[in-house]
Symmetry: D2
Subunit: 157 residues, 4 copies
């Protein structure tokens, strides 16, 4: 369904600027700013061939970066083959509704299948209405909600 002008590619070192622009826009949505060192470490994970670190794809419309997805495989006690956590998904507003988000998720599904660990999950804010319109079509809502350790109990934070 994707327009022929949209391509999805794993990031390479020369994509650092493009990735950084998308990543910053995504973090803006969560009103989050990360130090440069965190950007460095995140991008290194995407370039790494270590199967335990994050994978990613950048969506390009012709020469313009328009979306990203990041995912990681981790062990799971219920599933000997492990599971896949799709942590970050973003598309720029100008391409929304064109199937870019869906295609990025489908890359993750395909990678999970290729690893023999097909279960994939992600978390989203209950009030992320635009995202959930897509997720309800391509995923299944569960009754699980997330709790965090309170920051005040972290000795290091």
């Amino acid at each position: 369904m994707l327009s022929e002008t949209i391509t999805l590619r794993a990031p390479t070192p020369s994509d650092r600027g493009a990735w950084n622009a998308l990543w910053t826009a995504y973090l803006d949505y969560y009103e989050t700013v990360l130090p440069k060192a965190a950007h460095d470490t995140a991008f290194e994970q995407l370039l790494s061939s270590d199967p335990a670190t994050f994978n990613g794809r950048i969506a390009w419309k012709d020469a313009v970066p328009v979306g990203l997805v990041h995912w990681v495989h981790h062990p799971h006690m219920w599933r000997p083959e492990g599971t896949c956590y799709l942590q970050d998904l973003f598309t720029v507003p100008s391409v929304r509704g064109q199937g870019v988000g869906r295609s990025l998720i489908e890359v993750v599904y395909a990678d999970a299948d290729a690893r023999g660990a097909p279960s994939v999950y992600w978390l989203t804010q209950e009030f992320n209405y635009a995202g959930r319109m897509l997720y309800d079509r391509i995923g299944e809502r569960t009754p699980f909600i997330r709790y965090n350790r309170p920051a005040r109990t972290d000795r290091l934070q």
Copy 2:
């Protein structure tokens, strides 16, 4: 606060029977039955010294196993140090309200601190009222909800 008769210990090979009884009771709560091979792999992870696999503790009341917790560290794109996913927590009904669950969570917090990756999260069903009474005291509810890849899209399932 814990009674002196409660002790928390990492599982050893001789704890397989005790762990299995707790794990099966926990899975019952989720109306889940796993094949023996999945139990085997799960228990091997708990015994492994590989920092990328699951860790666990069993709570004992004198010689009786009364609770368990499992957690795993995994990479996180926002946090160069990674994060900690507390996947499974269980206490037998006869000890509820005695601080066993809280103590099991605090072991995870301490391990996260020791690794220099203090953030910890877990997922629970919205209607797990008894669990949430504890989690609201020791954690922070977030607005994040979980979506799963639908089983029908898994080629392997």
Copy 3:
């Protein structure tokens, strides 16, 4: 903000056909079909001058009915002046995003003020994303969820 071509009017007997079309489309969203007698009673409430029955407005774009709202005042134990329940809100897809829904809600707010009972509430499905995009701007989400008596305990149903 409303286009000059949008007008909001209380229903009159000659509006029965227009109202019925909107009401049926609204009920379709909830996959609900009501018998004709229920339509009759509902419309009679809108025409009634009894302050204890429902009030309504129909939104017109030129001569085309494009939206409706229904509300009722009822006693409230915490508020001697009572409260206002906005039960039904609907706009046809072709006018969405043009401020019709907001204007219909504002009529209810104004009526509540005029009665000296300014509190207004409404209920919506958690997954009514399009509606909630509006409601988050013009209302406040509360942590209250609705429970119903199960149909099986109704002697009459």
Copy 4:
């Protein structure tokens, strides 16, 4: 199931002190204090024979007031016979788990049946775990959530 020592009675004028103590304890749960005039008007509704105002019951354990329920019938556009809103339910901590709450709800169900308007609904905070343990047994959770008009838009408040 109710102990023979529990009785449910409609309030009479001489019950004002008993009702007031329960009502104040209930409002405390919501961190709410109401002026005396609001208590007066609320209690008058309970004594009134007007079918459009609130009804109530007080639960007594021997001579001690241990619970209350308030409900009101109001019109409903989908149901010609109207509906019943169970607004307030409270039991004192010392009797919880003894069936008092359930019995108070069942009085409302019976009154709804007697009026020929058997549908009953109520709202509760998502995190009212103790209440929901009961409501899940005697009611059905719906996906409806409540929105309020923001206080800042009330001209009178």
